[in-house]
């Protein structure tokens, strides 16, 4: 799959950017230069590549330090959504009517809720932690996974080749392993990539509203939100975190598109066609 994604230019770009982001997340806190605090709100200089923040901390180091939480945050959102969405999505097709009905109603509920309002409200009720905010957001975006999984599973479950397998005496487990998984995984991967993007935007919006912040732990969203308060001193300061967020979201979307493009029979054909054209 990855190899196929890499045959697309957009796919290479997306994977490249996300790799850098992942590296930032893993190494960021380690490589962040431990610059002592200095005069607050300096603009760019040799000592402080991106200037200093309102407490005189080096913005560049803060961005690096913040990478892990920022990335983990949206990955956590996506993972929560994945777990909460995929399993019921699969089971809604394979288990009985009662389960199907119940989960469908629950998903209808979640979809009906205005995202941020709910995230804000529930985080208020659950206490003001980044983790709470993430869990809530994850649950709120889980319908995407539920629907995607369910749709893919439904399509496969009613296909002739599954019927053919049943006629050969295959069990449900066999059918899922052999026929369903391969069809369900690509749309889940698409949803996962999309959700990481959505997660970034939502988590940063919540941070802007002051929800889910646990100072002094920096996040890109938090840095962006606080930079907006000092526009007069450092007008271009929000650019760095904003670009990081936007590029990451963009790369996630690109990746989602690339996965969509190369998955399934049509995707294979596309990739093959490109290979032929390249020769």
């Amino acid at each position: 799959m990855l190899r196929r994604i890499l045959t697309l230019r957009a796919g290479r770009l997306a994977v490249g950017i996300l790799l850098v982001v992942a590296l930032l997340a893993i190494l960021g806190p380690w490589v962040a230069p431990d610059v002592p605090t200095a005069k607050p709100l300096q603009s760019l200089s040799g000592d402080h590549w991106l200037g200093t923040d309102y407490l005189g901390r080096d913005v560049f180091s803060r961005l690096l330090e913040g990478s892990r939480d920022s990335v983990l945050g949206s990955v956590l959102v996506a993972l929560v959504a994945l777990v909460v969405g995929v399993v019921p999505g699969l089971l809604s097709v394979l288990l009985g009517r009662v389960f199907e009905w119940t989960t469908l109603r629950l998903v209808d509920t979640l979809v009906a809720l205005p995202f941020l309002v709910f995230a804000v409200a529930v985080t208020a009720l659950l206490g003001n932690g980044l983790t709470q905010a993430m869990l809530v957001t994850g649950v709120l975006v889980s319908p995407l996974f539920y629907r995607v999984t369910r749709a893919a599973t439904l399509a496969v479950a009613h296909s002739q080749y599954v019927e053919a397998a049943r006629i050969s005496g295959a069990s449900i487990g066999w059918i899922v392993r052999r026929h369903v998984w391969a069809k369900v995984l690509p749309p889940i991967a698409v949803a996962l990539a999309q959700t990481i993007g959505v997660g970034f935007i939502i988590v940063s919006s919540l941070t802007f509203l002051g929800i889910g912040v646990q100072p002094p732990a920096p996040t890109w969203g938090g840095l962006l939100a606080s930079d907006l308060n000092y526009l007069h001193y450092r007008p271009f300061a929000p650019l760095a975190p904003a670009l990081l967020i936007m590029v990451t979201v963009w790369a996630s979307n690109l990746l989602a598109d690339a996965i969509r493009d190369v998955s399934g029979a049509a995707g294979r054909a596309l990739v093959d066609a490109r290979k032929v054209a390249a020769r």
């Binding site: 607050p40 309102y54 407490l55 912040v213 100072p215 002094p216 907006l228 308060n229």
Partner: protein, 474 residues
């Protein structure tokens, strides 16, 4: 800048964006210090303060103490009415004081412990019997504690239909967000009120308040220090309304590790007050180790710099004590906490910051070990002192602990008439006694920073108050 976008209506309208929009419009119920400034648009008090913080007449023309100082009589101005037509008389004031003492959800009865009873004498004289000699009462019955509402109004309805005898009358009120007022022609000093209309709204994100002022959406707003430069650059008047603001680090000496006085002292010496000013003040505010500004009568020069910034000494004090880990609990994200964290880290104390929406519960139950608080102060210095240092003071995280000698010093102040020659020294002695408290480390006083469009004329510089007397718009 473009100031004309929304201010073309000619009449003098004050468009005020406030970050402290009152949650409740009944003065007895409303709890926070900053909101009284807004409530004062509607409600007048018995007294108010002048530029020096002295009590001067408001609804009461004058007042007289008996010889023992345990009874004070307020003489009301004649022929005043509330905006519902009810006369402002001694009965009304008596009712107001009693309501503040007895109403179930009153936030004030803690402030009124000196009041034994209230009687009327004739139509205009209110006689207040005290439980002790207390010459602070005229200061007490100012904006903070005795905004007088009409006795004819149903107290439960006051929140939505405030009826007072203040300079303005509410015409429309959207709870929590917006209130529209017009000038009260029956206000005793109406001749000096030149503003016709007021629209008070709850302020948006701090970053956009200045844009709002700049584009004329508002013409008056409180701003955060970081926005002061921008506001000036946008051609706005930026000024500081003097006040009694003081931020502190609250410490609970009943809990480890602060049961060890050395740790408390270490914290006292670890705090670099100037850093707060430098980083958060943007040229405004000043370092302080007392809950009073320097020029105020209660400020005790002798106590200045008692625990100066001395990290070496702090480290010295901590020697031999096992590593300390603390949780600093605050109600919302606050850079002060980050500064405290880094300063304590510098002397080897690890601090975790925990933002807890439910902060008030443990704080007022005195369950926290370490927290931050900022007071807006009170008109009566004694009140400020007891709130911080008294055994039951709400701001004393270490209740019932109080510093030795504090109780006596405060009693002495109460017994000293305000105009007595030694009033200042007695008061300062009480401050000195209070500052012995291990429960509080004062850091800096954040300024009451305001920005206004140039069309709004300067405000009287009454500390802690926003007084519209004489202010013109246009």
């Amino acid at each position: 800048g473009n100031g004309s976008a929304a201010s073309g209506d000619g009449t003098s309208t004050l468009r005020w964006a406030t970050s402290y929009f009152p949650t409740h419009w009944d003065p007895v119920v409303s709890g926070s210090g900053a909101q009284f400034r807004e409530l004062a648009l509607v409600y007048a008090s018995l007294t108010k303060t002048d530029e020096n913080g002295n009590a001067v007449p408001d609804l009461a023309e004058s007042w007289t103490y008996n010889d023992t100082g345990d009874q004070v009589t307020f003489h009301l101005r004649p022929k005043l009415t509330f905006s519902d037509g009810t006369p402002v008389n001694a009965a009304a004031v008596k009712a107001a004081i009693e309501r503040a003492k007895t109403q179930k959800n009153s936030a004030l009865f803690g402030d009124l412990t000196s009041i034994k009873s209230v009687t009327t004498s004739g139509d205009l004289d209110v006689v207040v019997q005290l439980t002790q000699t207390d010459y602070q009462i005229p200061l007490l019955f100012g904006e903070r504690v005795l905004q007088v509402a009409s006795p004819a109004a149903d107290p439960t309805a006051l929140d939505q239909k405030p009826v007072g005898a203040g300079p303005f009358v509410v015409t429309q009120l959207t709870p929590g967000t917006k209130v529209v007022l017009k000038k009260n022609p029956d206000y005793w000093d109406a001749a000096n009120i030149h503003i016709e209309n007021v629209e008070l709204v709850s302020a948006p994100d701090a970053a956009t308040v200045v844009s709002g002022l700049q584009t004329g959406v508002y013409n008056f707003a409180d701003i955060t220090p970081n926005n002061a430069e921008a506001a000036k650059a946008a051609g706005l008047d930026v000024f500081v309304q003097p006040g009694f603001n003081a931020n502190n680090i609250s410490i609970n000496v009943n809990k480890a590790p602060f049961t060890n006085p050395k740790v408390v002292d270490a914290v006292r010496h670890a705090i670099n007050r100037q850093e707060f000013v430098d980083k958060l003040g943007f040229g405004y505010g000043e370092a302080t180790d007392q809950p009073f500004p320097k020029k105020y009568v209660a400020y005790d020069p002798q106590s200045a710099d008692k625990y100066a910034y001395d990290p070496a000494k702090a480290k010295e004090l901590l020697k031999g004590i096992p590593p300390i880990k603390l949780t600093l609990v605050i109600p919302s994200a606050d850079p002060q906490a980050e500064i405290v964290q880094s300063q304590l880290a510098a002397v080897g104390i690890t601090v975790d910051i925990k933002v807890d929406k439910n902060w008030a519960t443990p704080f007022f139950a005195k369950d926290l070990t370490l927290s931050l608080y900022g007071t807006t102060g009170r008109d009566s210095a004694v009140q400020t002192l007891t709130a911080h240092f008294g055994p039951n003071g709400p701001l004393n995280l270490s209740s019932p602990y109080q510093p030795a000698g504090f109780e006596a010093a405060v009693a002495k102040v109460r017994q000293t008439p305000l105009e007595a020659a030694d009033y200042a020294s007695v008061l300062q002695a009480a401050t000195r006694a209070g500052l012995e408290s291990k429960a509080l480390v004062f850091t800096y006083s954040s300024p009451n920073l305001l920005a206004k469009s140039k069309s709004v004329s300067a405000l009287p510089a009454n500390p802690g108050h926003i007084d519209w007397t004489g202010v013109k718009i246009g």
